[in-house]
């Protein structure tokens, strides 16, 4: 998946001859060799940032769910006027 995305990005960045019209192929004629020695810091930053945002959203959603459940439980007990 990442390798395919890397190939697509490389088509956009490098002014190579226009690749064939197939979208996600990994033909050796159009894809350059991946260079793992020089990380793409933008992509690394985006990945970590997205992960942090997703965790924040998940924890916020969970806390909202807990408070909503407690609120509804309290309201249900109040309506029935039990202990």
């Amino acid at each position: 998946m990442a390798a395919g995305l890397r190939a697509v990005r490389r088509w956009g960045l490098v002014a190579a001859p226009p690749p064939p019209s197939l979208a996600f192929t990994r033909s050796a004629f159009v894809v350059k060799k991946a260079n793992n020695a020089q990380p793409n810091w933008l992509r690394v930053g985006l990945a970590f940032g997205t992960s942090a945002a997703l965790w924040a959203l998940l924890i916020k959603q969970h806390n909202e769910d807990v408070t909503e459940y407690e609120r509804r439980k309290a309201r249900a007990h109040q309506c029935r006027q039990c202990s």
Partner: protein, 111 residues
Amino acid sequence: MVFLPDESRSLPPPPLLNKGSVWLGFAGWMSALLDNAFNHRPVFGAGIHRQVLLATLGCVVGYHLVKRAEYVHAKVDRELCEYIRHHPEDFRRSTGKKRIGQLLEDFQPVR
């Protein structure tokens, strides 16, 4: 069809790390490790950002799937209990119910 209807919020929410979110988070992490293996990178040490992102995605998807599953189970249970409540004649406990001790013969130890 709504993924999580409003009445699902009346149910107690599952814990943040439940069986669904842990399992799918683990599956996301494994898929990042597999991607490393298929691209001839060091399996554990490479692409930490990828591993973290895919594990996080797995946890998020797992949490919401477990919420939906608990809602569906609670809905089925409610409909079942309502049916039992509306049809008591079909669920009457028979008075002549025998206990298992009455059906079996007495135990005679053979020594």
